[in-house]
Every structure is written in structure tokens, then in C-alpha cells.
């Protein structure tokens, strides 16, 4: 009988194992093998990784490996990065660079797990608002004085600067601006809005039974916060000071957009990609989105007639700075990483990467000459002058969470703008102080 009990106990334990390791095993599957990038991994990455290690071995027999992690799922982005790496590997034979795709949703998790398990890449190309958190974790190399960033947009440099030290190099810059469907605007007899009041009026004029006047991603996470802060900052409020007249006005404005029926509540479930799809499908007349959507929009909806303009202002023009930074992981192959970065951040290579990516260079001189005035990217370069970074703050994820909760409460009607602002302020004060 005892034996039976034991067997039962073990079966039950085995069952529990499945439950508890549910999350863990998923992570393990996609954990990239550090030194054998082609061995196992997401199918998307396998192709490039294989191609890259080929070129790596071709160029050098005993070259030191340098690994890069990135999260671009866009095939064009992956191929461009691959091309840069192949050129680099072909140009010298001391280092062999390989890149590894880690899905965006897993990227933070993989970096954290990698940090505690000592399995990090040599270079990470990461989302700029997270940079400070990882610097705080102590995994990035101090790059002060190693790269000349004096000509870069201030916001991009700030996003990788902590306590006056430079811990990264901006990869590219982007920001949000307002896209509008020109045909719908002409048909409705509206003009391009420049203020909040005009925006609301125009959105009302554009809204029909099947078309929403305006949309922007309002998901309750960093992506949503990214899309909400331009409204907040336009009033003069800061990310850390919301419970005041300005912060409440921003929340009330969003509440009004929903109340007036010019923006769908569904925005809280739409990613920026979903918003773009609704826009090109003609379900949305205006949207706030970034320049990285342009290549897709041009190929998927070549006949759609749209333009880009600054996000309408309340007290001042404001947008939010996005983009990735390069960071070098300390205690690894730092020399190799620096050598590659010096190559990749040279003016010529930056220009090549930015043009292929549909990104705006973080380097002002390159950015200003990058696009012709009639290019759809051009308004984004202008908007960049008003774009501010989120953070940099090690506790930014917490602040971002409080902000995204606040506008979600307002959109869903579960709290008034006043209460939402007060609640967010309490959380933020607990983090910032």
C-alpha cells in the first residue's frame, strides 16, 4: 500500500511540475545558445544566423565571436542588419559577429534572465526607455569618451546617459506624428488640425457610421504609454507630475475623444500595428503612429492618399522619442563589441542602415539631409525637434505602468480623470522619491 501511495505522490508531483514549469520551459526553449547561434532558436532567426555564421567562418578561422541581440521582427530590418554584419566580417578577420533575434515580448525577460545566469550577448540593441534599468542592473559597459555623440539629438543621448556617463550609442530615432487620410479630409471639407480643439472638430467631421475620426494605440503597457505621453506633455505636465490641472486636462481630453465617439474604445486592445492596419483599411481617418509604419503602408496600400503632420498642440507641440540604442555588455568581449560599434556608427554605415530601416538618424546632420521635403518621413524630422525621451529612470517601468493605468481607467470609464490622476501620482511618488 505504501508503494502505491508513493507512486501516487510521484505522479502528482510530476503533474505539478508541468504546472510550475509552464512559464519557465517556454523561456528555456527560446533562450539563445550563446556560442552556437545557429543551433536552435526561433525559426525567423535561424536563417540569418545560419547565413551569418557562414560568412563568419569564411572570413576567419579563429576569429573571436561577438554576439548581438535584437528584436526587430521586420524581415527587411533583419536582412539589413545581416548585410551590415557580413560587410563587417568581410572587412577584417579578428572578430566574427553573429546576430540573434529575440522577440520583443521576450526581450526584457531574456536580458534579465541572461544577466542573472551570466549568459548575455556582447552587444544588445534595446528599446531606449529600458536602457536606464539595465544600466542600474550593472550589465552595461561605460562608453564615455569612446564615441562622439555631440552631434546627436539630445533626447537620444539622454536615454543612454546615467549620472553623466554614457552607457550606449543611439541606433536611430523615431517619434510619433499625426497621419491623416487626405481623401477623407477633403471629402469632409476639413482642414489639417494644429490644436486640440481643431483636432476634435476635424475628428468629429470625419467620423461616420463606419469610420472613426482618430485612433492611437492605448494598450496598457509601455506601447500605450508611448502613445499617451505626447498628449500629457503638450499640456506642460511631466511624466512625474500628473495630478495637477495640466495632467487632468490631458486625461479629460482623451475621455472626450471617447465620449464624443470620434475614437473607438477598442484602441485599448490595438497595438500600433493594429492601428496602422485599421488606418489603411479605411476604418480610421486619422492616427498617431511612427515612421516605421511607412514602408508597410506604401507596400500594402499604395493607392491610399495620406499625409503626416505634427501632433496637434495644447500649450506646446510635443512628441515622444523612440528608437533603439546599442549597448555593450561588460565583462564580455568588450574590445570586439567596440570595434564593431565603431564600424557600425560611422556616418556612411549609419546612413545606409537608416535609409533601409525607414528610421531617422539620431545624428542631426545625417537626419536633416536624409529626406526630401516632399518625403512622408520629412514631417517626422520636424517633429523630432519637439520629441522628448521617456525617463531615463531605472524605475521607469513602474512610472509607465501608473500612467498607462490612468489613461486606461479614463478610456474605459472606470475612473474620472481627477481620480485617475491622483491614483497615478501616488504610485509615481512612491517610485520617484
Amino acid at each position: 500500500m505504501k508503494k502505491k501511495k508513493l507512486t501516487a505522490l510521484l505522479t502528482a508531483m510530476a503533474m505539478m511540475t508541468g504546472i510550475l514549469s509552464g512559464c519557465g520551459s517556454k523561456g528555456a526553449e527560446s533562450t539563445p545558445a550563446k556560442d552556437a547561434p545557429a543551433a536552435d532558436g526561433p525559426a525567423a532567426a535561424q536563417e540569418d544566423a545560419a547565413a551569418e555564421s557562414d560568412s563568419g567562418t569564411a572570413s576567419a578561422g579563429d576569429a573571436q565571436p561577438v554576439t548581438i541581440w535584437y528584436y526587430w521582427e521586420n524581415e527587411g530590418h533583419q536582412m539589413t542588419l545581416d548585410q551590415l554584419i557580413q560587410e563587417y566580417n568581410g572587412s577584417q578577420n579578428q572578430y566574427a559577429v553573429t546576430a540573434k533575434y529575440v522577440p520583443f515580448a521576450d526581450f526584457k525577460k531574456q536580458l534579465s534572465i541572461g544577466a542573472s545566469a551570466d549568459e548575455l550577448p556582447d552587444i544588445a540593441i534595446l528599446d531606449s526607455p529600458d536602457h536606464a534599468s539595465y544600466v542600474d542592473m550593472g550589465i552595461f559597459e561605460d562608453l564615455t569618451g569612446k564615441f562622439d555623440v555631440s552631434n546627436y539629438y539630445e533626447g537620444t543621448v539622454n536615454s543612454c546617459t546615467v549620472d553623466g556617463k554614457l552607457y550606449g550609442v543611439p541606433f536611430g530615432a523615431n517619434c510619433l506624428a499625426l497621419y491623416y487620410n487626405e481623401d477623407m479630409l477633403t471629402a469632409a471639407g476639413g482642414s489639417v488640425p494644429t490644436t486640440w480643439d481643431e483636432l476634435l472638430e476635424t475628428a468629429k467631421a470625419l467620423t461616420t457610421d463606419s469610420v472613426s475620426g482618430l485612433a492611437f494605440c492605448s494598450v496598457q503597457n509601455e506601447e500605450g504609454t508611448f502613445n499617451f505621453v505626447p498628449w500629457l506633455w503638450s499640456t506642460g505636465a511631466t511624466s512625474y507630475d500628473i495630478n495637477n490641472e495640466n495632467g487632468i486636462r490631458a486625461l479629460t481630453y482623451i475621455q472626450n475623444l471617447i465620449k464624443e465617439g470620434v475614437m473607438s474604445k477598442e484602441c485599448i486592445n490595438w497595438t500600433q500595428g493594429d492601428v496602422m492596419n485599421q488606418f489603411i483599411a479605411g476604418n480610421v481617418a486619422m492616427m498617431v503612429n511612427g515612421p516605421w509604419q511607412i514602408p508597410t503602408m506604401q507596400s500594402e496600400a499604395p493607392d491610399l492618399n495620406w499625409k503626416v503632420t505634427l501632433i496637434p498642440q495644447d500649450a506646446q507641440y510635443a512628441s515622444v522619442l523612440g528608437g533603439e540604442n546599442y549597448a555593450v555588455v561588460n565583462g564580455k568581449n568588450v574590445d570586439g563589441a567596440l570595434d564593431f560599434l565603431t564600424y557600425a556608427t560611422s556616418g556612411e554605415k549609419v546612413k545606409f542602415m537608416m535609409d533601409q530601416f525607414g528610421y531617422i538618424s539620431a545624428d542631426k546632420t545625417i537626419a536633416e539631409s536624409q529626406f526630401a521635403e516632399d518625403s512622408p518621413y520629412y514631417p517626422f524630422v520636424e517633429e523630432l525637434n519637439y520629441a522628448m525621451p521617456r525617463g531615463p529612470l531605472a524605475g521607469w517601468p513602474g512610472v509607465s505602468d501608473a500612467i498607462s493605468l490612468a489613461f486606461n481607467q479614463v478610456i474605459t470609464g472606470t475612473a474620472t480623470p481627477e481620480n485617475a490622476a491622483a491614483q497615478a501620482q501616488t504610485t509615481i511618488d512612491g517610485i520617484v522619491k
Binding site: 502505491k4 505522490l9 496598457q220 477598442e266 517601468p397 481607467q409
Partner: protein
């Protein structure tokens, strides 16, 4: 010599066979659990994850958690989600199992087809239900409107109350086949003779069901409910894809909130404390399951 011989008696040899599995579990289950428990008593966050300066804070993480309204909501959500799902999927699964135990043409193939929801990857199911419940383009609103049951589209996934309902619907749809197939198997173990003699003695349908089917199915029902509880309580992917815990944290479960704390907000210790609450509840149910199954074997 005799001692060694005595040691290799039948029962003990059995233990040796269990040993590899036991060691495996110790390393790959025991260690993570213990590590997680220790982690939950420390203060580990983005700042000291790598530096290794980990202070023990005893129950601070747990106290903080139970004072956190999102956590208490997610605990309550997990419970009501689990109980609602269990009730509906068990009743529907039981009814279908009884129905398909009748011999009629197509019974077997149709029962097979009904298993499909159980086999589809949960992410796919979640995306499907997300589209079904969409406000403007969802087919559910379309049907309700066409039947003139509603005049305005219901905002299923963007209103706290209805989002939970949508999640329960999706999970019940997945869970019905699981309940059905286990109960069907249980039904086949009941000897036909019992029903025959019952009908000779003049027992009615309801009486047969209450006096024969239910009592003889008791062990099966217990297993189905407890396994169902465990499978449902640890729900993660369905919620993550359909609502990500939203709107306004209204559908966070223990699992999704624990993930959010650890990997989105870098509060590793608080996240592991939340996971441990999940563990304690499941352990409790697990012990209950062991008791139920071993009692069944003793009879």
C-alpha cells in the same frame, strides 16, 4: 550479505526504479521551487539582480502584495474564473458524455470532432475569441444585432465585467472536450449488467442515473474536477493573448500578474511571492487529489 539481500527485496527494488525520476524532480522541480521561495523573502529588483546584494526582508513582499489591490483582484479573479469555468465545462462535458454514450450512427466521429478545441493551441483559440468578441467587427455582436437582441454593440473586451465573461466563454469551450472524454471513459467502466438488472427491477432513468451512474463515476468525477481545477487555475496564455490582464487590470490572474511584476516591472521578489501564493493553493489541491486517488485505490 543477508542485509544486502534483504535490501534488494521486491519493494525496495521498486524504490530503486523510482530513484532516477526522484533525482530528476529534485534537481529540476525541487530546486526551482526552493529558489523561488528564498527569492520571495529577499528584496531582488533590477538594481541588485546582478550585484548580488540581496537583503532578506522576511514577509515584506507578501505583506506588500496583500496590500496591493491589483494582487487581491487577481487572486479573486483566478478563483472566480476557475470556479465558473469548472461548473460550466463540467456540466456541459457530462451531458455530452452521456449523450455520446448512446449508440447511434455518427456518435463516434462526432465525439472525435468535439475534441478539436482541446487540441488547438491555446494562443490560436485566444486570438479567435478575441476576434469573435471584438466590438465593431466581432461576429457575436453582429449576431446579437441581427437578432435584434441589442441595438448598440457590446464592448466585450473593453469593459471590465464582460471581459471576464469572454475569457470564461473561451476557456469553457476549451475545457468541455477534456471533461467529456474523461467522463466518457469513466462511463465505459460501468458494467452494462447493472443497468439491465435495474431496468428489470423497474428503475426509471433519473433513478438509474442517481443510484448507478453517479456513485460508480465518483472517482472519475473527483479526478476530472481536481485536474480541471489545476489546469484552469494556472491559466496564462489565454488571458495574456486575449486581454493581457486588462482592461484596467480587471482580468489579471495570479499567473499573469506574477509575470508582469517580474518581467515587465523588474520586481522579481514580489513576482515570485505572487507565484508562491499560486503554488500554495495548487499544492493544497494537489494533496487533496492524492488523498482522493489513493482512497479510491484502497477500496
Amino acid at each position: 550479505m543477508a542485509k544486502i539481500k534483504k535490501f534488494f527485496r521486491y519493494e525496495n527494488v521498486g524504490m530503486l526504479f523510482v530513484l532516477p525520476a526522484f533525482l530528476y524532480m529534485l534537481a529540476f522541480v525541487g530546486y526551482p521551487i526552493i529558489h523561488n521561495i528564498i527569492l520571495s523573502f529577499q528584496d531582488v529588483n533590477a538594481g541588485n539582480l546582478v550585484k548580488g546584494t540581496r537583503n532578506f526582508v522576511l514577509f515584506d513582499n507578501y505583506l506588500e502584495l496583500f496590500g496591493d489591490s491589483v494582487f487581491t483582484t487577481s487572486l479573486w479573479n483566478t478563483l472566480r474564473f476557475t470556479v465558473s469555468c469548472l461548473v460550466f465545462q463540467f456540466i456541459a462535458g457530462f451531458a455530452l458524455a452521456l449523450f455520446f454514450s448512446k449508440r447511434f450512427s455518427l456518435a463516434r466521429p462526432v465525439r472525435g470532432i468535439l475534441l478539436v478545441p482541446w487540441m488547438i493551441p491555446i494562443t490560436v483559440t485566444a486570438l479567435m475569441f478575441k476576434l469573435l468578441f471584438a466590438t465593431d467587427i466581432g461576429i457575436i455582436n453582429f449576431l446579437l444585432r441581427s437578432l435584434h437582441l441589442i441595438d448598440k454593440n457590446i464592448e466585450w473586451l473593453t469593459t471590465p465585467g464582460t471581459a471576464m465573461f469572454a475569457l470564461i466563454c473561451a476557456n469553457v469551450w476549451i475545457g468541455i472536450p477534456f471533461n467529456m472524454i474523461l467522463i466518457s471513459t469513466g462511463l465505459t467502466t460501468i458494467p452494462k449488467e447493472l443497468y439491465e438488472s435495474a431496468s428489470i427491477d423497474g428503475a426509471g432513468k433519473v433513478q438509474t442515473f442517481r443510484r448507478i451512474t453517479l456513485p460508480l463515476l465518483k472517482p472519475t468525477i473527483e479526478s476530472v474536477l481536481i485536474l480541471g481545477f489545476i489546469y484552469t487555475f494556472k491559466v496564462y496564455d489565454l488571458v495574456y493573448v486575449m486581454t493581457s490582464g486588462g482592461p484596467v487590470n480587471a482580468t489579471h490572474m495570479l499567473s499573469t500578474y506574477s509575470y508582469k511584476l517580474s518581467f515587465e516591472m523588474f520586481k522579481y521578489s514580489k513576482g515570485s511571492a505572487a507565484a508562491n501564493v499560486l503554488l500554495v493553493i495548487l499544492l493544497f489541491v494537489g494533496v487533496f487529489y492524492i488523498k482522493a486517488t489513493t482512497e479510491g485505490e484502497n477500496e
